[in-house]
């Protein structure tokens, strides 16, 4: 595992720091990187809000079919990414039945990323929410706090480490996502092309050094994310003790 990564880093810095920097900041490469980062952040914000909401509904609400809803949350983990892309294209593409056609736009990339990263925050928050002691909430409510205040002041601080951990994993996944994006985005340079697609195009064009440089940049970003997640978890564990 280490060997391939070492080869990657070596190749990325093959021509020295200058060449690396040039390859990463070439117009196509840079616009793909920027778009990847911006899209990832937007999607993770949306899925953090909706993921927390879904976890809340799954833990605190009771309704028929809840078990089935709980099961389908894992679907994006179990479904091949290329199928996810095709699936979204079938519904929100040119021949789609709902009349919404986002194929080959930036919105399509957001849609695909939202699909594949949906479970992360839900699955991080759900177990913590189940364990949260409801006495504090009841106390706050009996003292006259409105439910929105209870959520903001009592529930949310308890969930925060889990939310951040889930969001970090989702962000790392977004930055590298390929399969679900490749069909629906159309891979238009400077517009809908994300970094992973850019890298794969460079490989096909036999520009391995350029591909390696952008890969190293992407890798560093994702590693930073995972380190941040690790730090949050360590802090959470300490507070728990």
């Amino acid at each position: 595992m280490l060997l391939p990564l070492a080869a990657l880093v070596a190749r990325g810095f093959d021509g020295g720091l200058d060449t690396f920097w040039k390859a990463v900041t070439a117009p196509d490469a840079k616009s793909a990187l920027v778009f990847t980062i911006v899209a990832s952040i937007i999607v993770v914000l949306v899925n953090t809000v909706f993921g927390t909401l879904v976890a809340w509904v799954l833990v605190r609400d009771e309704f028929r079919g809840k078990a089935a809803v709980n099961a389908i949350i894992d679907l994006p983990f179990a479904l091949p990414t290329i199928v996810a892309g095709l699936t979204l294209l079938a519904l929100y593409g040119p021949r789609g039945p709902v009349g919404i056609d986002v194929a080959y736009t930036r919105a399509a990339v957001l849609l695909a990323l939202a699909f594949v990263t949906l479970p992360f925050v839900v699955r991080a928050v759900q177990p913590v929410l189940m364990e949260v002691d409801r006495d504090m909430e009841d106390a706050a409510a009996s003292l006259g706090a409105r439910s929105s205040t209870v959520f903001r002041r009592i529930v949310l601080p308890n969930l925060m480490p889990a939310i951040l951990a889930g969001a970090g994993l989702a962000l790392a996944r977004c930055l590298g996502e390929f399969g679900s994006v490749v069909l629906i985005s159309g891979n238009i340079p400077n517009k809908t092309e994300v970094s992973s697609v850019f890298i794969s195009k460079q490989i096909e064009g036999d520009n391995l050094t350029g591909a390696a440089a952008v890969s190293v940049a992407l890798l560093l970003l994702s590693l930073l994310m995972l380190l941040a997640v690790g730090a949050v978890q360590v802090r959470g564990a300490r507070r728990g003790k």
Binding site: A172, G179, L218, L223, G230
Partner: protein, 263 residues
């Protein structure tokens, strides 16, 4: 009460628009022209070859990662050694790396211009553009699942029973087979399901390493893309439907295993 229903509606609505409707659509497109047409599209020679190649990758990668995963989990949960924190972090690397980047890294090591490319060519072993490389890529990508599902279970069961077995004279292997493994089996099984789902569906890494040689290195996910780009929509949808079915089986298995774990 009103706000509760509102929240429920919002959550379910998001899931419907994002998950349920698109999936239903693939089913509809697959069988749009009848059962026969769908069956024919799913059983072309290329599709069948891709199907078996995909299963071959699962058959090799999943057992290897299961053995490695349990071993690594035991190291992390039961042993103290220098560099353990480092080892623990390394295991997660495949989650942080884009699949495409994994593919590229393998090319840089085993490809023609790669570090070992020339040596390998001398021995006649071809890794890149060959199922061997695709299997290595799959192993890399799905490495962390069993480890990550097993470590928490190992920590939770504690070491009391293992120590008891040891004081009663059990050898390490006996303790593992008789005490540890039965206690962690559902956690391991959950990791195996996740690994299988990932290997079945792996696209990015395999795509880069495979060279996309139809009928040779094309797995089912690659076949979906190739068919789609050939405007063979029936072929793309039917292959996607087969993969989606396998994904559904994985989801059901995950639910059953979770219930076992809680019981």
């Amino acid at each position: 009460m009103g706000s509760r229903l509102g929240l429920r509606g919002l959550a379910l609505g998001y899931l419907t628009v994002l998950l349920v409707l698109p999936l239903g659509m693939v089913g509809y497109r697959t069988f749009e022209h009848g059962l026969d047409a769908a069956w024919n599209a799913a059983t072309t020679a290329d599709a069948v070859h891709a199907f078996w190649l995909t299963l071959l990758m699962v058959a090799v990668a999943v057992p290897l990662n299961t053995v490695f995963g349990v071993g690594a989990a035991l190291l992390i949960a039961r042993r103290e050694f220098r560099g353990k924190a480092m080892f623990n972090a390394l295991v997660d690397i495949p989650f942080a790396v884009s699949p495409v980047v994994v593919g590229l890294a393998l090319i840089l090591v085993y490809g023609q211009t790669g570090w070992f490319g020339k040596d390998l060519a001398g021995t006649g072993i071809q890794v890149i553009f060959n199922p061997l490389g695709m299997i290595i890529a799959s192993i890399f990508i799905s490495l962390p699942f069993v480890v990550r599902e097993t470590v928490p279970v190992l920590r939770e069961i504690g070491t009391e029973q293992e120590q008891a077995a040891e004081t009663l004279g059990a050898r390490p292997w006996q303790t593992f087979w008789r005490i540890t493994l039965p206690a962690i089996r559902w956690g391991v099984a959950y990791g195996v399901v996740l690994t299988t789902a990932r290997v079945l569906g792996e696209f990015g890494a395999v795509s880069v390493v495979s060279g996309k040689l139809v009928g040779k290195t094309e797995t089912l996910p690659l076949h979906v893309q190739a068919a789609f780009e050939d405007f063979n929509l029936a072929g793309a949808y039917s292959a996607a439907f087969v993969l989606a079915l396998m994904g559904l089986v994985a989801v059901v298995a995950m639910q059953l295993l979770k219930r076992r774990e809680l019981a």
